[in-house]
């Protein structure tokens, strides 16, 4: 109970930071209306969805360094086959993409639990395989999507309702029921101690496969939202690596403990706003966006450091 209270403090301080940054950003813009809010939400949707997937996997005691590649693969698949298609076909490919992503996630989890190789090594290797597949499907930047389909993500001219739903529906429809379900609880269980979970009757191997599959579900949603928002795909390792790094940073900023078993998905979703604001605000001042990468890296280290110190203090 005490721990959860501290988590709330953490989320509240992130919320405070988000509010400060929002005010800062809104002062940079001549008008701050619904169109600007929509732009911000569209900017964070991919980061937030990927961060949620990564956070879930970290909560379950793993880490997926291929999650960015997974999203880029789905981005490439959906953008390639939805180009110039009608609404129904775009929707069908979006669903196929998400299913593929879940399968990819499940295979990753299966390899990890069957081989006994560390998560880092397996996912570092699968990130190469997935980018290879993405390059196969979409050798260079390109692709497209049905515009009516994209509208369900982008919303109308000034309305930010649709993007807001895209952002919150996964939390409401996937995470909240999951967190209360047997499966969700066993994610936390294998995250805090595999042995203890095993001894209390959790099938660790199967849970891990589900863990990575649900992570893949979020990565797939991220890939589809990328297709809908950018209406294109670019199969580059640089993009997927940055996306993976962002997802880990958002998870850490959002109060998910790297040791596993602690955290939820609200914090990381909030934290992805911080990651979105840093480069955007700097760009607003005309500063080279490369600096934002430095700040983001430093911020991640700082957060892990402070988090570690707090935990060490709490133990004493």
């Amino acid at each position: 109970m005490k721990i959860s209270l501290r988590e709330q403090y953490w989320n509240l301080s992130i919320l405070g930071l988000v509010i400060i940054l929002t005010v800062w950003r809104s002062n940079q813009l001549p008008v701050f209306g619904s169109y600007e809010i929509k732009t911000i939400i569209l900017g964070i949707i991919p980061i937030a969805l990927l961060a949620m997937g990564q956070s879930l996997i970290i909560i379950g005691g793993g880490i997926n360094l291929a999650i960015g590649a997974e999203a880029i693969l789905i981005n490439c698949i959906t953008a390639k086959y939805s180009e110039g298609s009608d609404f129904a076909l775009s929707l069908r490919w979006a669903l196929i993409g998400i299913v593929i992503s879940v399968i990819v996630g499940a295979i990753t989890g299966w390899i990890i639990s069957q081989s006994g190789i560390a998560d880092i090594v397996v996912t570092l290797a699968t990130s190469f395989v997935l980018i290879g597949f993405a390059l196969f499907i979409q050798p260079g930047p390109g692709g497209g999507v049905n515009l009516d389909f994209a509208k369900y993500f982008m919303g109308g001219e000034d309305s930010y309702i649709a993007p807001l739903l895209v952002l919150f529906l996964p939390i409401l429809l996937i995470w909240l029921p999951l967190q209360r379900s047997r499966l969700g609880i066993s994610f936390y269980a294998i995250g805090s101690s595999k042995d203890a979970a095993f001894l209390s009757g959790v099938n660790v191997a199967r849970t891990r496969v589900s863990l990575y599959a649900v992570g893949g579900l979020f990565a797939g949603l991220c890939g589809v939202s990328l297709t809908a928002i950018t209406q294109a795909a670019s199969p580059f390792a640089v993009i997927s690596n940055t996306a993976t790094l962002n997802s880990v940073a958002a998870a850490v900023l959002g109060g998910v403990a790297l040791a596993g078993g602690v955290g939820d998905l609200f914090g990381p979703a909030l934290a992805s706003l911080v990651l979105y604001y840093i480069p955007t605000i700097m760009l607003g001042y005309g500063i080279d966006p490369a600096y934002s990468q430095i700040i983001q890296g430093a911020l991640t280290i700082l957060v892990v450091l402070v988090g570690g110190l707090l935990r060490a203090r709490g133990k004493r």
Binding site: L124, F133, F136, L245, V248, D288, A290, T300, I301
Partner: protein, 311 residues
């Protein structure tokens, strides 16, 4: 224990021999002395990166900033080479020591998770060098001739200067890990940091030393890669990050630390180098290469872990 080590090393030799044979069957030119020389020459920087990664992974850590450290060191040497070779090398050395020390202090003193620390460090370095290219590190990124010779010069087929450097540096790493007190405490803290601390080892000092030596080895590898390509781009060593980890894992070093050896990593580096020669001769698309490379790395790691687990 003895039996297990022998089994693993035999398995590695068999895998190396198999990849060697398959490559030779696909491309008959591979069995010639010059192409073996080239393969060994290209294996040398990977071998040095794997040396750094081995040291860190033996302590139970990992260095995902290694590729950026390598690129950074090469970039500094090439841009600063106008002010003299030794001065430019000194700059690169300072860079490696500083980055390694920051990694080591964060991990050893502040207990930051090594994965996050080095991943973030990598992001920071990418940012610093992207900015640096147009500001404080502006200039020609051509490598000095002496370093080009040292990274690709032929002595006597198939022996090249980088191979000699790899043998000397690698031999030193192997000696340090197996025969010195430093090596012993590296294994000790990787096996059980708490026990090592109670036995009087200053764990944080060892960790700083490990990350600094890793960074220096990475810098050497980067300079060698830069010398082999002639000029340095900001993405120079990017593609070597997975191989550096993979060589160590295939070579039997546990990612949890405390178990493994540099000789295993050398075998891993050789296997991966022959493999990339094979993929290069297949004349296939980049997509196919990435796919096969990732797949084979995974398969090798799996085969290896199942062989060594059984006994």
């Amino acid at each position: 224990m003895k039996l297990k080590i022998n089994r693993s090393i035999i398995a590695l030799w068999i895998i190396l021999a198999l990849t060697f044979l398959v490559t030779g069957l696909v491309d008959s030119y591979f069995f010639s002395i010059p192409s073996i020389g080239i393969t060994l020459q290209l294996a040398a920087p990977l071998g040095l990166l794997a040396a750094g990664q081995t040291i860190v992974m033996l302590t139970g850590g990992i260095d995902l900033s290694l590729a950026m450290i390598a690129t950074g060191a090469a970039y500094i040497v090439s841009v600063k080479s106008e002010s003299g070779l030794f001065i430019s090398l000194a700059y690169a050395l300072i860079f490696c020591v500083v980055v390694g020390a920051v990694n080591g202090i964060a991990v050893g003193v502040f207990g930051v998770n090594p994965l996050i620390m080095t991943l973030s460090m990598s992001a920071i370095l990418i940012g610093v060098f992207t900015v640096g290219v147009s500001t404080f590190l502006r200039g020609s990124s051509r490598m000095p001739d002496l370093l080009i010779t040292a990274s690709s010069g032929l002595i006597l087929d198939p022996i090249t200067w980088p191979l000699i450097i790899w043998i000397i540096v690698g031999g030193f790493v192997h000696f340090s890990l197996t025969r010195t007190g430093f090596g012993r405490v590296i294994y000790a803290i990787g096996d059980n940091a708490k026990a090592a601390r109670l036995a009087g080892v200053k764990v944080w000092q060892v960790q700083i030393a490990a990350y600094v030596s890793c960074a220096i080895l990475g810098g050497m590898a980067g300079i060698m890669l830069g010398g082999q390509s002639g000029a340095v781009a900001i993405s120079l060593a990017n593609s070597y990050l997975l191989p550096s980890v993979a060589a160590v894992v295939i070579g039997g070093t546990s990612i949890m630390g405390g178990m493994g050896s540099y000789s295993g990593s050398v075998m891993g580096a050789l296997i991966l180098s022959v493999l990339s020669y094979l993929l290069a001769t297949l004349n296939s698309s980049e997509a196919f290469k990435q796919l096969v490379y990732g797949g084979i790395v995974l398969a090798l790691a799996w085969v290896y872990s199942s062989i060594s687990e059984r006994k």
